[in-house]
Each structure stands twice: as structure tokens, then as C-alpha cells.
Amino acid sequence: MAGPLRLPGNPDVRVRLRALSLVAPLVIFVGVTFVAPLGTMLMRSVYDPVVADALPKTLALLSDWDANELPSEAIFATLAEEIKHASSERTIGRVAGRINRVQGGFRGLVTRTERELRTTGQGTWREIMISVDSLWADAATWHAIKVTGERYTARHYWNALDMQILSDGSIARQPEERRIYLRLFLRTLMVSGLITLLCLLLGYPVAHFIADSPPRQGNLLLILVLIPFWTSLLVRTTSWIVLLQNQGVLNDLFVALGLIGEDGRLSMIYNMTGTIIAMTHVLLPFMVLPLYSVMRGIPATHMNAAASLGATPLQAFLRVYWPQSLPGVGAGALLVFILAIGYYITPALVGGSDGQLISNMIAYHMQTSLNWGLAAALGGVLLVGVLILYMVYERLIGIDRIGLR
């Protein structure tokens, strides 16, 4: 006998189901606004159908092609056919652009070839095309077509790691002058590490002071720390320009004090110094808050206890206070470091040319070069880096010890 539909009888399960149904809206929201875009973006880093869709027959023939010889007449003919077709479909520009990233000059080559193909000349396709440009006789050109023709590809990732796929299929480092990303990753890591360290050095005493103050003063000080959150990031960043620029407040002050000469003004902005100063300022609250919340849980009597047991202030700090504040240090450092790694707007505004970080490069590929695959791959590498860090932290300190009590 079929009864009415009922929730499982076990009250435990029912409670859990109800709890789940309350969480559902957030799960859906996060899914739609975060996981899905992230997923498609990561998908882009390994999936690129443009060339494969436009030149299917050529690619099929090229799969048997021996890279040491010139492709057969049939391949030339098929390619010519598909170029004409793509040209009429108006997709040829995108296709050429894709291939151009692997083989510079390909765009121009296609434009010229396409023009020539409209006026049917004499001879085989091979002769015609090679007569347009000898690049068609270069195996590298064909290799480029073949490589970009793969729907699923790791080449964006190789590219993001300053590697390339050679025509024989092997992986090699990019030539010296094309290696930019690894250096940029390294620079981003080091700058983020430095900023994290600076935030820790500046934030630790502040957090300790606030945690040690009577509640009323403590709250007031905490608000002072939080005030920057209430002003726009843009305003904060640009006010650093006012302070740090060549004719800015600080330089004027130094000159007025006679610390530096008029011609010795320090360049503190539009370079790495500017990026570091401004980002340290912007990210400081993210260090202070977790530190404060952990430190507030450390009883003030502990330092007295240590002193009564004979410890010097330094011993008391190192052996008693610091270890207990570690969860806060870990949480703050992880937070600041992860935020710094992906920070975009501040380096973009005050970083000049040598103060740019990896996220500025990602933005460049998203907005200017329109190489979304590479941008996504750079983002993917960053994500993996953050996950590794997270796991290291978990191993060393334990993520559950991030105390936000």
C-alpha cells in the first residue's frame, strides 16, 4: 500500500535535510555566480575549438603529415578551400589570430593568401600559395596550424609556464626573450610575500595593542583600523599617488627638511615601491582583524604568569604569547598573501611598468590581446599555487586552528 510521500522517519535525517534546504539558496548563489564562471574560465584554458571548427578537413589530412616534408598537394588544396569558406563565413580573422599566437606573421600570411586565392592563378595550389609567400613552404607554419587545431590542448598552460611545443611534439623552454610569465609569477610571489611580511610586522603590534586595551578604547581603535574599508579602494590608492609622487607630499617634505636635494627626489610611485607601499596599506586590515580576534582570546594574565615564573619579557613573548597568537598569524598571513597574489587594481594604478603583477598580465590578456585561453591558464596556475599554499598551511598549522573566535 503506497502511503503519502514522507520525509524519512529518522528525526536526525530530517533535521539535517531541513538544514540543507536552508543552505541551498547560498549554494545555488555561489554555484551560479562563482563556480560556473570559474569553471567556464578554466575550461577555456584547455578547450579551444575555433581552428578545429574552421579547418576540419585540413586538420584531418595534417594528422598523417610527416613534419619533415612539405605537405601534399591535397592538403594545400583543402586548406585553400577551407580558407575561402572561412573567409565567406567571416571567421577567418579569428582563426588567423589564433594561429598567429603560435606562429608570428600568420595573420598577414593568411590575408595575402586569401587575396590571391580570389583571383585563380596558374599551377597547383601548392605553387600558388608558395608563390604568395614562401612561409607556406616552412614546416613551422603547418605545425602551427596543427597545434592550434587541437580542441583540447595544454598549450596555454605550457605557454603560461614559458614553455612551447616544438614541431616534433617535444616540450622546450621558450627562447630567452619570450620568457615572461615565470619571472612574473616569481615576482608576484616574492612581492606578495614581502607585503605579507610587512603587514605582519606592522599589524602585529597594532593588533596586540588593541587586544590589550580596555574594551571601549579597543573598539574605537578597531574602528580606526576598519575606516579604510569605508573609503573606496580607488580613493585610497590615488591618495597614495598624492603622497608619493615626485612632486608629492613626502618628497616635498624631505626636500624641505633638507634630507634630499631638489634633484634627488625619490621615485616612490609608478614602480615596485609604490605597489608595495600601497598594497601593504590596503591589505593591512586583513592582517589586523584575524590577529586581533586570536589575541583577544589570550588571557592577559599569561604574561604576568610568565614573568612570575622568571621569564624575561622577550622569553615570555617568544614562549608564551607568540605560540598562542600563531593561529592568527597564519590566518592573517594566508589571507593577505592570497589577496596580494591576485591583486589587480593597486598595481595597475601605482605600479608603473615594473610594478605590475601577474594579475595585471591576466587582465592584459583578457582585455587587450584577447587571448582568453592564456589568461585562463595563467589564472589556473595561480589557483593551483594558492591551493598548494593552503595545503602547506594545513599541514604546518592546521586549517581548523585559524581561530576566528
Partner: protein
């Protein structure tokens, strides 16, 4: 009877006098403390504590007990006056160099260290080698009966065990002076009583001076050699426990230590070389023992312990005999507590040993009550 009582209190005084010959371990000399520059939370505090003595500072919350301890430990500086340790002033000695063991109210055990590491800490900062450290830690743990818990974290121990660890840590570096600030405040009653005896046992087995702070008079009575009763940053009375109970010198101490009935009135006459006063408490004339200087006409407070009040005595047996009405009877197991209306008030207490059938008393009975002169003390008048 009167003479006998006098005798008791004078032996007590003589004992205290004997202690004065031993060089004082701790001396407070006119110590005052103010946090805000105006209100003195400790006022002209004088106290000598002898080597090996167990002295308790007893007083209500806010009476300055912790402040006194903090000044002795070195966490607060006196605003004036000086503190001497074995005869030497210590005002410029930082806490860590005073070599005083301290047990904090909430134990202040370091939660990230094991019990062993907590105990080892004071030895490490003294640069002791690891072999001797280990031995001392084991000995200290044995002393507080916690052998085998060395590798636990404080969070894995019960409240009573944590308390023992805190005591062991304060003792492990063998200080000659140990301070304890309401160390048993967080424990439940039976555990508290157990720990009271434990601390006493430890005090006897080691030759340490202990300055103990509590607001619990019973705890103070159980543990102390001497008790200093504090009120508003001053010592109201310092005495051995029995002396404090039998011979309170102020209405405050009489109220604070045990129970006491307090009646107010004016001195109307003096007898026996002015050692006994007659006090008019609004109709009833009561004769009582003079404790501090007073004159005819002074307003005074009388203090009578409930258990010294006799119900329906043979007429003429007690100097003081007045009538009262039974308001309320409470059965307390070993004793019967009787609330009486007399002398214009209805909260006069008498306790008598438990007797079958409430000794024939019922609420509303008119009774006679009586007590001797020495059981009733004339104290300076205090607003009830």
C-alpha cells in the same frame, strides 16, 4: 566566665607576639595604591608576614586584595610606602627577579604547552639542565598527586587537576614565598574543600610562606595561620582564626566572619572598671563587654553570635534577659535556627542544637532569651 574568656584572648595575643620575634618574611610599610590618582584602593597598608606563615587576606570583592598581591608580586607599583622582602625593599626589583611563586585565579596555565612543559618553563628560563628539570618536574607533580599526567595538555584536564598543575608550577622552582589569588574560586564546593586540605598539606610539607587571597571566610578559617580582614583597602583586623571569631573588633568583622546579631543603641552606663557597658537599645538595657574605648552617651553597635543566645533560660542565670517572639523556625540538620522579633526588629537569630520536636517551640511563641556579658561585644557604631 568573664576571666576565662579574657584569658583565652590574651594567650592568642601572646602567640602573635611570639611570632613577632622571627624576622618578617614580607613587610608592608604604609603602602598605598591608587589607579586613577584619586581613589586609594589600598590605604596605609601595614602587614608583617613571618617566614613559613600562611596568611590570608580576606575581604569582600573590591576591597583591594588582588591589588595588594599584585604589588607584592611586582605587577603593580605602590603609589607610596614600601614593601620589604626579607628586610630588603623590592620596589625596583621586576616581577621576574622576585622569585615569588604565584597561583592565578584562572590558573593561567599555558594551553599550548603540556603539563610537563608548563612546569619545566620556570626551570628553563633559569637555565637549569634538562636532567635536573625532569627530576624537579616529577617531584612537583608527585607533590600535587598528578604523577603520570606530564604529557597532557591543560585543556585535557579537569578543573581540579588544572588547579593542582597551577600550584605545582608555582612551587616547582622552589620559591620561599607563594601567592594565591582566589585559587579555588572556579571549583565546585566538594572539590574546593578537598583542595583546601591539599594546599594545607603542601604548606606543611614544604617550608614556604603563603599569602592567600579569598572572599570566602570559611575557606580562610580552614586554611590560615592568620587572617587579615580587609575593608576598603585597609586591614580591619588581623588575627588567628579563633581570635577573629571570638573577639571581632568591629561590627564588619563580626558580620563577615560567621554570623552575628547586631543591635544598635547608646551607652547608658559603665561598670567593672569601665570594662562593661550598659547599652540602651530602645527600651531593652543590655550589658556587654567593652572592646574599644567608649563613653556614656556614645552610639554603639552590639554583636551577639546566634549560638550564644539561650532560649528560655532559668531566670537570673544570665545578665541579659529579654523577651522575644518566635517568627520563624528553620531546621538545618544539626541545628535549629530560630528567627526572633525583639528590640524593635524581627531578624534576631538564635541557633540551638537540633532537638526533637523543635524543643517545643512554635511560631508566634513568646519566649525569654538570654546571654552573658562576654558573649556580647560593644563595637563602634556602624550603619547596618
Amino acid at each position: 566566665m568573664l576571666l576565662n574568656r579574657e584569658h583565652t584572648s590574651s594567650t592568642i595575643l601572646k602567640d602573635a607576639g611570639k611570632l613577632d620575634q622571627v624576622p618578617a618574611h614580607v613587610q608592608f610599610r604604609g603602602v598605598s595604591k591608587t589607579y586613577d590618582g584619586q581613589i586609594k584602593v589600598v590605604k596605609d597598608f601595614d602587614l608583617n608576614i613571618h617566614t613559613g606563615e600562611f596568611v590570608t587576606l580576606l575581604g569582600p570583592s573590591g576591597s583591594g586584595k588582588t591589588t595588594i598581591l599584585m604589588m607584592l608580586a611586582g605587577f603593580q607599583a605602590p603609589s607610596s610606602g614600601e614593601i620589604l622582602l626579607e628586610g630588603r625593599p623590592i620596589h625596583d626589583l621586576p616581577a621576574r627577579k622576585r622569585g615569588i611563586g604565584m597561583v592565578f585565579q584562572n590558573y593561567a596555565l599555558f594551553p599550548h604547552m603540556t603539563v610537563g612543559a608548563n612546569l619545566s618553563f620556570p626551570l628553563e628560563v633559569r637555565g637549569m639542565n634538562s636532567l635536573e628539570r625532569k627530576e624537579r618536574v616529577l617531584r612537583a607533580l608527585k607533590l600535587v598527586r598528578l604523577d603520570g599526567l606530564s604529557d597532557r595538555k591543560p585543556g585535557q584536564l579537569s578543573g581540579g587537576q588544572q588547579q593542582r598543575v597551577a600550584i605545582a608550577r608555582a612551587l616547582v622552582f622552589e620559591p620561599s614565598l607563594v601567592l594565591m589569588d582566589e585559587p579555588l574560586g572556579a571549583l565546585d564546593r566538594s572539590l574546593r574543600e578537598e583542595m583546601q586540605y591539599e594546599i594545607r598539606r603542601i604548606h606543611r610539607s614544604l617550608d614556604v610562606t603563603i599569602v592567600y587571597v579569598t572572599h570566602d571566610q570559611q575557606e580562610a578559617m580552614v586554611m590560615s595561620d592568620r587572617i587579615a580582614v580587609l575593608r576598603d583597602g585597609m586591614i580591619d583586623q588581623i588575627e588567628v582564626p579563633e581570635g577573629l571569631y571570638e573577639a571581632p573588633t568591629s561590627a564588619f568583622v563580626a558580620r563577615f566572619i560567621g554570623e552575628s546579631n547586631q543591635l544598635h543603641g547608646h551607652v547608658s552606663a559603665m561598670f567593672e572598671q569601665d570594662n562593661v557597658c550598659e547599652v540602651d537599645t530602645g527600651g531593652e538595657m543590655i550589658r556587654a563587654l567593652k572592646v574599644s574605648p567608649c563613653h556614656v552617651g556614645d552610639q554603639v553597635t552590639l554583636s551577639i553570635r546566634p549560638e550564644r543566645v539561650k532560649m528560655n533560660p532559668e531566670s537570673g542565670r544570665y545578665t541579659n534577659e529579654i523577651s522575644a517572639t518566635v517568627e520563624d523556625l528553620t531546621f538545618l540538620g544539626d541545628q535549629l535556627r530560630i528567627r526572633l522579633a525583639t528590640c524593635g526588629r524581627d531578624d534576631f537569630l538564635a541557633t540551638i542544637p537540633n532537638v526533637v520536636g523543635h524543643g517545643g517551640l512554635v511560631e508566634g511563641d513568646a519566649v525569654r532569651i538570654g546571654w552573658t556579658v562576654v558573649d556580647c561585644r560593644v563595637l563602634n557604631y556602624e550603619q547596618p
